[in-house]
Symmetry: C2
C-alpha cells in the first residue's frame, strides 16, 4: 500500500525504489543484480513488447533467435567491441557439477572444463554477424532485417531495478544492407520508431540526437539515441540505434556479390531498447501516491469499485457493472471489477492509485438510485459524477485525454528544463539547482567532455538532430564551436 511511499521531493531515489516494489513491478533476486519482474510489472512490459513488435514488423523486420552463449574469441574480433564489453562479462567455464566428496553439496567438476570459455551475451553483434556470413552471398539476400527479443547480461557493480541490472530483457535489431546510405536510413528509421513509441505510447517526450565519440556504442560509426528527462531533472537514454558502417562485416568477413558480381562488404545497423524503458515510464509520470500509467500501456485501464452494504446491494451493483464492463470491453478497454469482500473501498482506491490504473469508477447506493457513477482520473485526481447511460463513451474519451495530458505535462516539464548557458559557472549552477538538460557550446574534444564529466558528473547526452547552427565558444576552453549540445546528469 501507498503507506510508507517516500515523497519525491524528499528522497527521489528512495521514492523510486519503494514504488517499484510496492506497486508489484519488480524486486531484487537472491542473485546479485538480477531482478524478478513481477506479474503486474511484466504485464506492462508485455504491452510494450507487443506494441514495438508490431512496429518492427510493420517496418519489414522478422524475429529470429540466436544463442545465449558467445565463444570468447568472437568478442575479440572487433577491436572496439571487446574493449567496450570485456569488463562486464559473465563467463561460463564448466559444464557439470558433481557431489562434493565431504557430502556438503555440489561442486564444480574440474574434469568438465570447457576448452574455450563462453560469454553470456552482453549484446549479440558478434554471434549474429558470424551467422550472417553464411546467410549473405548475393545482393538478393539484402537487406536482411532481423530482430530478436532476448535476455542479456552485463556484470554491473551498482544496480537498480529496471534502470541498471546485471540481466535485463531487451530487443536487439541487427540489419545488413548493400549500401551505406540504406544502412543510415535504417538507423534513422528505427530511431523514429523508438521516438514514436516513447511519445505516443509511453507519453514520454524525447530528444532525438547523436552521441559523441566518447559515448558511442563499441563498434559503431555513429550512435543515434533518444533522450528523456525524468522528474528529478536527470536524463535517461531510452533507446539507441547504431550505424555500424562495415565494422562487423569486416570483422566477420561478410560480403555480397553486387549487380556486377563484385564482392563488397555489407553495411550494418543494430538498435535496441530494454526493460530500462520500465524505469523511464515509472519515473516520468508517477507521483507520491504511486504509479501513473499512460492508458496505452496500462494492463488494467479501468477499475470498478463497488461501495455497498450487504450482499443484496453488491448484487445490484454487480448487475449494472456487468453491463458497463461489456460495453467497455467492446471498445477494447480493459476493465477490472474489484469485488474483493475483505477490503474497504478506501483501501482499494489507494491500492489502484498505487498501481496507476488510469480510470477508476465507483458505484454506491446513491448511484444505484440516480443511475450514475463516480469517475476519477488517476493523472489529475479529478472526479465527477456521470450518468450511467454513456459511461463507455465518457471513459473512452477520458482515456484519450489522460494519454494526451500525461504527455503534455511531461513535455512542458521537459521544455522548461532545457536551459541555455554561456559560461561554465552558469553551467554548474544550473546543474546543481534546476537540473535538466543544459544546452551549451563545446569545443568538440573528448578531453573537454571528459573534464566536464569529472568535474560535474554531467555527460553530453546528445547532439540533437537538425540542431540549430550557431557560432559560439566552448564554455570550458573558449575554443570556437558551431553548435550547442545537450548536457545532463543521467541515469
Amino acid at each position: 500500500m501507498a503507506k510508507g511511499l517516500p515523497k519525491r521531493s524528499e528522497d527521489y531515489s528512495a521514492w523510486y525504489n519503494e514504488l517499484v516494489k510496492k506497486a508489484d513491478l519488480a524486486e531484487n533476486s537472491a542473485v546479485r543484480g538480477c531482478m524478478v519482474i513481477k506479474p503486474y510489472g511484466f504485464a506492462i512490459w508485455e504491452k510494450m513488447q507487443q506494441t514495438l513488435d508490431k512496429m518492427f514488423k510493420d517496418t519489414g523486420h522478422s524475429n529470429a533467435y540466436f544463442p545465449l552463449f558467445i565463444p570468447k574469441s568472437y568478442l575479440s574480433k572487433e577491436a572496439d567491441h571487446v574493449e567496450g564489453f570485456a569488463k562486464e562479462c559473465a563467463v561460463v567455464t564448466h559444464y557439470r557439477l558433481k557431489n562434493a566428496e565431504d557430502g556438503s553439496g555440489v561442486v564444480v567438476d574440474p574434469d568438465a572444463k570447457l576448452e574455450e570459455e563462453l560469454i553470456v551475451r552482453p549484446t549479440s553483434e558478434t554471434v549474429i554477424w558470424s551467422t550472417y556470413k553464411n546467410w549473405i552471398q548475393s545482393h538478393r539476400d539484402l537487406p536482411l532485417l532481423i530482430n530478436q527479443w532476448a535476455n542479456v547480461v552485463r556484470w554491473e557493480m551498482r544496480t537498480r531495478l529496471f534502470l541498471r541490472t546485471a540481466e535485463f530483457l531487451w530487443q536487439e535489431g541487427h540489419t545488413a544492407h548493400a549500401t551505406r546510405g540504406e544502412a543510415i536510413r535504417e538507423t534513422e528509421t528505427m530511431l523514429d520508431v523508438y521516438a514514436t513509441f516513447a511519445e505516443e505510447f509511453m507519453g514520454v517526450p524525447v530528444v532525438r540526437g547523436i552521441k559523441t565519440e566518447n559515448e558511442r556504442f563499441a563498434g559503431a560509426e555513429e550512435t543515434y539515441c533518444i533522450e528523456a528527462l525524468m522528474q528529478d531533472g536527470k536524463a535517461l537514454q531510452a533507446g539507441t540505434s547504431h550505424f555500424l558502417g562495415q565494422n562487423f562485416a569486416k570483422a566477420f568477413d561478410v560480403k555480397y556479390a553486387d549487380q556486377n558480381n563484385e564482392l563488397q562488404h555489407v553495411w550494418g545497423t543494430s538498435w535496441g531498447v530494454s526493460t530500462r524503458l520500465m524505469g523511464a515510464l515509472i519515473m516520468a509520470h508517477s507521483d507520491d501516491e504511486g504509479l501513473v500509467l499512460p492508458p496505452q500501456l496500462a494492463p488494467i485501464q479501468v477499475v470498478i469499485v463497488p461501495i455497498y452494504k450487504g450482499e443484496e446491494q453488491l448484487n445490484m451493483i454487480a448487475e449494472k457493472v456487468s453491463v458497463i464492463r461489456k460495453e467497455l470491453m467492446k471498445k477494447g478497454i480493459s476493465v477490472k471489477f474489484d469485488d474483493r469482500d475483505t477490503l474497504r473501498p478506501g483501501f482499494k482506491f489507494a491500492d489502484w492509485e498505487l498501481k496507476g490504473v488510469p480510470v477508476r469508477i465507483a458505484m454506491g447506493a446513491r448511484d444505484l438510485e440516480n443511475n450514475t457513477v463516480e469517475i476519477a482520473r488517476r493523472d489529475t485526481k479529478e472526479k465527477a459524477t456521470y450518468p450511467l447511460d454513456n459511461v463507455s463513451e465518457t471513459v473512452e474519451q477520458l482515456l484519450k485525454d489522460i494519454q494526451e495530458n500525461i504527455f503534455n505535462k511531461a513535455l512542458t516539464y521537459r521544455d522548461e528544463h532545457i536551459t541555455k548557458v554561456d559560461s561554465y559557472e552558469e553551467f554548474k549552477q544550473v546543474l546543481d539547482t534546476k537540473g535538466g538538460f543544459v544546452s551549451a557550446h563545446w569545443d568538440g574534444s573528448g578531453e573537454t567532455e571528459e573534464r566536464i564529466k569529472d568535474e560535474t558528473k554531467a555527460t553530453i547526452r546528445c547532439i540533437p538532430l537538425n540542431n540549430e547552427q550557431e557560432e559560439g565558444t566552448c564554455i570550458v576552453t573558449g575554443k570556437p564551436s558551431k553548435q550547442r549540445v545537450l548536457f545532463a546528469k543521467a541515469y
Copy 2:
C-alpha cells in the same frame, strides 16, 4: 530447394536434419549444441507461443520473469532435483575478461572469480520457490498461478536441432496452492491445455498419461505427460505437467496461514513445453517434398504464384490478386503474393512446398480469360480449377479441411501403431519391425523397466490416463500385472 532432400524411407534422420535446414527453420551455431532459429522457423514458434499464451491466460495464469542465474547452493536444496540436473549444468565462475599479457586476445580475469558459482537455469523451480517464500503468507495469496517464457540450458552431449539442444526456448508454469487436491487439478488442467494445443493446433494426436517413477521429473511426486508418435514409429514427449507435492515448499520453506491461522506448507505444480514441439510438428506431418504445416500454425497460409509472360500480363494478374488478397485478409487468412521476377513458377512451387504453405493459388493467362484460379493443397497435393468469384470461401473451407485431414492422418497412423503384445519375443519383434507404441503388461518394478530399456532401447512412455484395467503377467518376469503400459523407442 527440395533438391537433395533425402527420402524418409531411406534415411529418416537425415531427412529431418536436411528439412530443418533447407526449409529455413534452424541451423547449428558456432557454439556446440546451441541453435540459431531462423526467421521462418521462429515465425512458427511465435504462432505456438501466442496460442499457448492465450490458453494460459484464459486459465487464469499471469506471466512474470525470474533470473537466468541460479546460485549453486539452491540447486542442492531439493535432493532429487540436484541429482537430476547437476550433470548437465553450464556454470558461470567469473564476471570479467582482461587483455592477455601476450597480446593474443582476452582471457578470463582470475581476480574476478565469483564467491559462489552461478548455474545457468536448466529449469527454474529453485529460484522461483525461493521467491515464492516471500510472496506467500496467507491463504489469500493462493493460488499463485505464474508462467514464464524463457531460455534454459542443459548441457547435452548429443544434440539435434529442436529435439535436443543445449539451449532451448520454453515456457515454464509454476503454481502454488492451498490444497493437494487443487494442485493435482491444476496439473491435470495444464496437461489438458497441452493436449488440446497439440491436437487442435499442431494436428498431432497425443496419449495423455503419467510417467513411471524412473521417468519422473526430478523433484516431482507425479509427472503427467503427452506422448506423440512420429512417422518413423518413435515416440516424442511433447509436454509435461508435474505435481510437485510439498517437495519444493518444504525445500524452500514456503508456508501459508490457513483460515484457522495455522501454518501449512503449500502444494506446487510445474509444467512446460519447449521448442522441441517444433521437432514434433515437423516430423509428424512432413513428407519427402518438405514441410507440411497445419493451417493453424502456418506463418503463411496461402501463397499466390503468378504465371505470366511479360509485364502487361503480370500487371493484369496482380490486379486480380490484390482483390483476392484483400478478401482473404478480411477473413484473417495470411497471404503472400510471390511476384519475384527472377524465379520460374516451377521453382516457386517447389520452394513453397518445401516451406509447407498449406494452400497454393496459381493464376495464369488462361485463368485471366476464364476468371479462374488453380488451387493446390499441400497435404494431399490435389489441385483443381475454381471460379474466381468465391475464392476466399473456397480457401477458408480448404484450410479447415487441411487442418482436419492432417490430424486424422496422424491419428490413423498413431492408432495403427499401438500394438498389444503378450510376450517379450513379440515385444522385441514389433519394436524392430513395425515400431510405434507397444502395449504390454509390466510388473511395475524399476528393475524390469531398466532391463527392458537396456535390452531394447524402449522406455515406458506412459501409463495412459483412464487406462483399462486388465489382469495379466509381466512380459519379462511373468509377475502379475493389473494394466498394460505403453512402451516405445523415443526421441
